[in-house]
Amino acid sequence: MSALPVPLTRRGPLRYTLVRHLMYALLAAVLLLVLTSSVSAYRDFQIANVGYYVVAVAGLTVLTGLNGQISLGHGALMMVGAYTAALLLERDNPLPTTVVMVLCVVVTAVVGALVGAAAARLRGPYLAGATLAFAVGLPGLTSHYAGTLGGDNGLTVLTGPPPASLGVDFAPERWQAWITLSGALITLVLLANLASSRVGRSFRAVRDDEVSAELAGIHVARTQVLAFVVSAACAGLAGGLLALVSGQATPGAFTVALSLALLAGAVLGGLGSLAGAVYGAIALVALPALSSNASDRFDFGTDVKSNLPLLVYGALLVIVMLAAPQGLQGGVRRLLGLVRGGPSAPVRNDPVTDAVPEVSVTTPER
């Protein structure tokens, strides 16, 4: 959202970041309203899926791109959100959906705080390993507490029909798309503001140089935990929205592969940019659909069908890191930079790949 360099001489209400971001969001909302109303129910379902992936990938982008921490546990944090939603909606008089989603965010943020409190100690590979353990271990809890959590079959999420005011034959998929897209827009506005606020600057400062950040009066550990909690809250909302869209919460949906797919989405889009998170989320929905089409056409069978997207994610993670560490958004920025005259267009939110300054001594060939 805030990817483009902003001239400093703005007049009128647009000088306020919040106003600007709200305006972008309003514009996007109108466009999406037109889009969702003009496509088929199946496309609306896919758009609904993009909606919650945007929330999750944007959260991960803030953590990894802005704060330089890596989490392999965001799939598991989504699971916390999904199960919270399922348990809350299971009751006889369920709370309104909005309240349920807020509670998903709160519960997952608390869990994230527990995991992330360790983050202050667990830097780099340690945090990655600990969150991986979380992602591998959490689905096991559902069979240990099969009574409340439903074991391997998971829980059914009861979602009501679209409101009657929209008409009787209003497609439920379109209603779901509206719900997840609202969640996505709210998340993006909040994160974009956070990124350009004092807090966002302290995230970046900690990412770039912990010692300097500490000298500048930033509490490094607290900042890292905060970034993890913000990111976990996003994953919680994403999980809650996923539960609404899919109508169920099962441990099989929240494997390590999901966590790695989210990371692939963030890396592919370009770490450190929320616009990149949107591209990444679209890719996470488009790739499995494409692979499913291809498998049907060439009759590959289920083994290929279910594994092809993961194969592509893996290849993408490696290739993007080796060839274009700034992801798709990096390419977009370079293009815009060329259009605006010269390759030296300023880049705001530096992606994580710039985090460690290049040593000027040339490294000899090994």
């Binding site: 667990l122 590979p125 591998v136 912990e210 390590v256 993961l310 993670l317 490294t363």
Partner: protein, 291 residues
């Protein structure tokens, strides 16, 4: 009491497997300061190759050798081709690359071999020896312990008493200086990854009979190996083995007294506790980095 003893002893063979994974992580960490998150998936893949050998009528030992050799090649390939370009960059990039390899291999295994759980043969009996009412190790479990111990000792001898080992240590410890003294640093790092991957492949073949063969089934084993390596400080091969054994016994208690589903979460608790109390592990000798 008899049960407690049985549970303790049965944790040892699991612990030796985690020690082998931990050892491979430590070797790679020492050589290149990268945690190889693909280690579990690499071991899973080479174990599938061994399985393919059995399917075509090969003996257990032929499959065993195929697994270790393919591990050697896979480790060398991953370092030389995929990790080398990002080794000097930000540490996150190398982590992301190994994660890419992780999910790629998992998907490839699912694609080639399917998602069915397959039982994996053992070369020796799986029946425990009993002393009174204490059940102890089975011949296969003894084989597991001996195999990992032999590999650990061989690696120790290689690193401490051979010319190649000295060059590998020099390359890992002071790359620039070693290069000036004529050590082919790049080759040494590739060799380090290759040897580490052999230890990982060994763990894969040894753990497969008890967890069954499945594209995702090394995830848990990798987490335990990582935890064991962190207990030992990521830097110390001895620490990796002690950490693996300790964790194996501990997880055996958890599985026996609370339920097997909780094993991974308890490994996470151990991991966090160790890092809270001694961030550099119980055996690390390097200076603490304090911010």
């Amino acid at each position: 009491m008899a049960r407690f003893l049985s549970v303790t002893i049965s944790g040892l063979s699991g612990g030796m497997i985690y020690a082998a994974v931990a050892l491979s992580l430590v070797l790679i960490w020492r050589a290149t300061r990268v945690v190889n998150f693909a280690q579990g998936a690499m071991a899973m893949f080479t174990t599938y190759l061994a399985y393919t050998v059995f399917e075509h009528g090969g003996s257990y030992w032929l499959g065993f050798v195929v697994a270790l050799l393919s591990g050697l090649l896979l480790g060398a390939f991953v370092e030389r081709v995929l990790v080398r370009p990002v080794e000097t960059g930000p540490p996150l990039n190398a982590v992301v690359v190994t994660l890419g390899v992780f999910i790629f291999l998992q998907a490839l295994a699912g694609l080639l071999f399917g998602g069915r759980f397959r039982s994996f043969p053992t070369p020796f009996s799986n029946k425990n020896y009993n002393f009174g009412n204490v059940s102890t190790l089975s011949p296969f479990e003894i084989f597991v312990i001996v195999a990992v111990a032999v590999v650990a000792v061989l690696l120790y001898v290689l690193f401490q008493y051979t010319d190649v080992g000295l060059r590998m240590r020099a390359a890992a410890f002071q790359g620039e200086v070693a290069r000036m003294l004529g050590v082919r640093v790049g080759q040494m790092l590739t060799l380090g990854w290759a040897l580490a991957a052999v230890a990982g492949s060994l763990a894969g073949v040894l753990v497969a009979p008890s967890v069954f063969l499945h594209p995702n089934n090394m995830d848990g084993v990798f987490v335990f190996g990582f935890t064991a390596a962190v207990i030992g400080g990521l830097d110390s091969p001895v620490g990796a083995i002690v950490g693996g054994l300790g964790l194996g016994v501990l997880l055996s208690y958890v599985a026996s007294y609370f339920g097997g589903d909780l094993q991974t979460m308890s490994a996470l608790v151990v991991l966090v506790l160790v890092l809270m109390v001694r961030p550099n592990g119980l055996f690390s000798t390097t200076a603490t980095r304090r911010v």
